[in-house]
């Protein structure tokens, strides 16, 4: 869809704004360019619709070199959204939305229809068509700014920090709306931002730039897990790396490795006394090889106390378990989805190795927020 081949932008004073950039963007992909100011991210974006001329190399849109195209026609075929919104203050919302349509000499009916159609996408009432930009809130204005970019249905849209000037709450809702819209319409987006949270939230792939060069291109998850170098780590910030960590924490790291179990063949009576001793209301049942067979809770015992004698007769065998190396995030999802109190952890031979309970998760949350206590221990040991 969009290809950069050895793209270079050099200013007259010999300084590089963008240096030998290579990148391929697939159709429907949401790409975020991010980096400190002056890293060339905006320059890169503006070269795509020829607001800035390329010094060397080439950019292909749909396989066609942009240098061979008429810049005016090219710009009309690429959507553009800027941070300052830039709605025409002397035109109504309708005129603003279909501005490109006006330039392309659409008929009045077509413009009218397209404006209505687009306004519906962002859930604004139709009366807004005849309003003027200054009568709208900042968030509403930027919605119109996005619609203007969509008007002629361009496959590619360039966005220069479009939500940067909005308050955090409006920004959040606009980001979500826009991501949804982008998926529905299957647009290719080149999105420039300096806000890492925004990039992580929206992007399919993030391009991290520094001094005109690409430092890392990857999915948000991959960047959080494996930052390419110190610069990326620093740019992400410690906070985010820690936040990113639960995603890579495995169940094995946090599980309780001494779950309360009884073996098959145990009588219900002794199972009850085990429960009482260990103060639990549920037991995991294993065989002599420690292979997980099922579980037993206090209610099942209550119901069947008179009828049955041994645990395997009343135990529930339908049991969700996870592996030691499963990701914690998936496990949490499982626990929540099944409304379970806990998930047993097994190895590849289905032998019980541990348990993740809601209490384990609560401890983890506590540790993430208030530190895991190791710092305190260190301080104590140093003091001693």
């Amino acid at each position: 869809m969009l290809e950069f081949h050895n793209v270079t932008k050099r200013y007259n004073n010999g300084k590089f704004a963008v240096n030998n950039l290579n990148l391929k963007i697939k159709k429907g992909e949401f790409i975020c360019f991010i980096g400190p100011s002056g890293c060339g991210k905006t320059t890169t974006m503006k070269m795509v619709n020829r607001l800035i001329d390329i010094t060397d190399g080439s950019i292909l849109v749909d396989g066609k070199d942009i240098k061979d195209q008429d810049p005016v026609a090219l710009r009309r075929s690429i959507g553009y959204v800027i941070q300052q919104i830039g709605l025409m203050p002397h035109m109504t919302i309708k005129e603003n939305i279909v501005l490109v349509g006006t330039l392309l000499k659409w008929t009045k009916e077509k413009k009218e229809e397209r404006a209505r159609e687009l306004l519906k996408l962002v859930d604004l009432p139709e009366e807004y068509l005849d309003k003027y930009p200054h009568e709208l809130s900042g968030g509403q204005q930027q919605r119109i700014g996005v619609l203007r970019a969509l008007a002629a249905n361009p496959p590619l849209i360039l966005m220069d920090e479009p939500f940067g000037a909005l308050d955090p709450i409006t920004r959040d809702s606009l980001q979500e709306e826009f991501k949804k819209l982008q998926r529905e319409l299957n647009k290719t987006i080149v999105f420039v931002t300096h806000d890492m949270d925004e990039a992580i939230k929206l992007a399919d792939r993030i391009v991290i730039m520094r001094e005109g060069e690409i430092v890392q291109i990857d999915t948000p998850d991959e960047i959080l897990r494996n930052p390419a170098n110190e610069f990326v780590e620093e740019f992400l910030g410690k906070e985010r790396l820690i936040q990113g960590r639960p995603d890579v924490t495995t169940v094995g790291q946090i599980m309780n490795s001494t779950p309360v179990t009884v073996q098959t063949g145990t009588t219900l009576k002794s199972a009850i006394s085990t429960m009482r001793d260990k103060r639990v209301d549920s037991l995991l049942i294993t065989d002599s090889d420690n292979v997980l067979k099922g579980y037993l809770d206090i209610e099942a015992i209550n119901l069947n106390y008179k009828k049955a004698n041994q645990v395997e007769e009343v135990m529930e065998t339908k049991l969700y378990s996870v592996f030691q190396d499963s990701l914690l995030s998936d496990t949490v999802r499982k626990i929540l989805r099944h409304g379970a109190q806990y998930v047993p952890v097994v190895d590849d031979q289905h032998r019980l190795v541990g348990i993740v309970t809601r209490a384990t998760l609560a401890t983890l949350v506590y540790d993430t927020i208030w530190g895991d206590g190791t710092e305190l221990e260190e301080i104590i040991s140093v003091a001693e």
Binding site: L51, V72, L74, Y80, G86, M88, H90, T92, L103, D130
Partner: protein, 220 residues
């Protein structure tokens, strides 16, 4: 009291004459400003686009503005002779600065982000000028025309000295007559009225051309 009676008498007796001069006076002022606008608005746009020229052009305009109108008119008369042409050319000279200046400011004041958005949406330079910059600058440009017209009405009054007629001629008649206060007033009051009315009308037009409208005011 006597002056007032004389004034009323003069006006009733020469109403037709005063009206003809009033009309002539207005036309000279209007033509002067119109011709000045034809030169100045494009010039203002030009210097707004090419910043380097702006200081030169504006400085030149200011210098012209410092020359006394009577002196300038006398010099131009040497070239163009007696009559209305001299007045109109003088007036043009004096109108150029306010119009160029206002056009320049109006164009410069157009929000750069709006221009960027328009340009990136695929407007040509000319479309940008016609659809964005001029509509947004027009009320400021109109303010320049208003200033020029009001100044112009004053300058045309001097035109009587070069035989161009107008209300200045009425005033001149008064100064030449013994005890001509009433006649001077009969020329001066319509001149002042014309300036005030022209100003009011131009303000009204200026407001009408205000680019940033409100949907409510349109509905009402």
């Amino acid at each position: 009291m006597e002056t007032l009676e004389q004034f009323i008498y003069y006006v009733t007796q020469n109403g037709g004459y005063i009206w003809v001069q009033f009309y002539r006076h207005f036309l000279m002022a209007a033509y002067g400003v119109l011709f000045a606008a034809i030169i100045s608005i494009p010039l203002g746009i030009l210097i707004a686009k090419y910043g380097k020229l702006s200081s030169w052009v504006l400085a030149l305009g200011s210098i012209v503005q410092t020359i006394p109108a009577l002196g300038a008119m006398a010099v131009i008369m040497i070239v163009l002779g007696l009559g209305t042409n001299t007045v109109i050319v003088t007036l043009m000279l004096y109108s150029i600065l306010p119009i160029v200046q206002n056009t320049y400011v109006g164009m410069k004041d157009v929000d750069k982000t709006v221009i960027e958005a328009g340009f990136a949406s695929g407007m040509t330079r000319f479309q940008l000028l016609r659809m964005v910059e001029l509509p947004l600058a027009i009320s400021v440009i109109m303010a320049g025309l208003r200033t020029a017209l009001v100044i112009g009405i004053g300058i045309v009054a001097i035109g009587a000295f070069v035989g161009a007629g107008g209300l200045g001629a009425v005033i001149l008649t008064g100064t030449n007559a013994s005890d001509g206060t009433a006649i001077i007033l009969a020329g001066a009051i319509p001149t002042a009225l014309m300036a005030i009315i022209a100003d009011l009308i131009m303000v009204w037009i200026e407001r009408k051309l205000q680019p940033i409208k409100s949907s409510k005011s349109r509905a009402a």
